[in-house]
């Protein structure tokens, strides 16, 4: 894995864009692995009863992806200190979901990043932020 160092990063730097897509099988496995029986994630007819166009991607699964987006970027020597995300719109399976990020602050060895998760129409699904500790070259 690539390892960024504190000396390499500045406010305004962008993190590489990542695009992913959740299959219905993935939603099912995530429900199973987390013991989550909520029908909106596997029963499309029922999801429509709750006002969704189809089954929707679990909010915490998107939270896990937002976390993964940051931990992959920070590399094995980075440490994730804080992260948070807000649900703005539902994510659907079998559609491209794009993650982008930008460094918003560097304070000592702590680096703050802002992350955006968007669907193919550019609609923001979950805005997020995180703080990581990066290693120094010295």
């Amino acid at each position: 894995m690539n390892q960024p160092y504190l000396e390499d990063v500045s406010v305004g730097d962008e993190l590489p864009r990542v695009v992913r897509r959740a299959s219905r099988a993935q939603l099912f496995l995530y429900s199973a692995a987390t013991w989550n029986p909520h029908r909106i994630h596997y029963d499309a007819d029922y999801a429509r009863v709750e006002g969704h166009p189809d089954v929707i991607v679990h909010g915490p699964l998107q939270g896990a992806w937002l976390t993964q987006y940051v931990t992959e970027w920070m590399g094995p020597a980075g440490r994730l200190l804080r992260a948070g995300w807000q649900n703005r719109a539902s994510a659907l399976p079998d559609q491209d979901i794009a993650f982008t990020g930008r460094i918003t602050a560097v304070d000592g060895d702590e680096v703050s990043v802002e992350v955006t998760e968007e669907d193919a129409d550019g609609r923001v699904l979950m805005p997020a932020s995180a703080v990581v500790r990066l290693p120094s070259r010295g």
């Binding site: 692995a33 013991w35 029986p37 679990h58 094995p76 994730l80």
Partner: protein
């Protein structure tokens, strides 16, 4: 519609709503979670990679903590929407529950083989006005403590009920 946030719900703020629940972090469950997320970070799978990065052994994905402490429940506890009846949830006049958001603080790494104890408290119940009508914003706070009594993480979870 009846009162979205009845006084009984407000009165529950501060109460323990779940736990303490203790769970061991096993490689099987942690890796199954990582695979379901599609996060194949070597720190979760490869002992040598984890040790090279300064960990005692493989660690679990940061967000796995929230799930490892979920207890199994009988099917008779399922509601129509598929969710389990939550004995500690405030009784709101709600039909739909949606994920609102989460805020995490991670204070120490969690390794496979560690034991984590989670205690969840109801942190707030607020009535809000949204573009699609009124809703209740419910906040739970969970503290995760390891086998040495060290706080490893705190999580604030928000749910939206309509």
């Amino acid at each position: 519609m009846s009162d979205l946030v009845p006084p009984e719900a407000q009165a529950m703020v501060g109460e323990v709503t779940s736990g303490p629940v203790t769970a061991e972090i096993t490689a099987k469950e942690s890796q199954r979670y990582a695979q379901a997320v599609d996060d194949l970070n070597p720190l979760y799978f490869d002992e040598a990679a984890a040790q090279a990065a300064g960990y005692r052994t493989i660690i679990c994905p940061p967000t796995f903590l929230d799930h490892v402490v979920v207890s199994g429940r009988p099917l008779s506890d399922l509601r129509t929407d598929g969710l389990f009846r939550q004995p500690g949830s405030p009784r709101l006049a709600m039909k739909r529950v949606m994920f609102g958001g989460q805020e995490w603080d991670w204070e120490a790494p969690v390794h496979v083989g560690d034991t984590v104890t989670a205690t969840q408290r109801l942190a707030g119940v607020e009535r809000k006005e949204g573009s699609r009508g009124p809703f209740a914003l419910v906040t739970w706070e969970t503290t995760f403590v390891n086998q040495d009594g060290e706080v490893v993480a705190r999580c604030r979870l928000q749910g939206i009920s309509r």
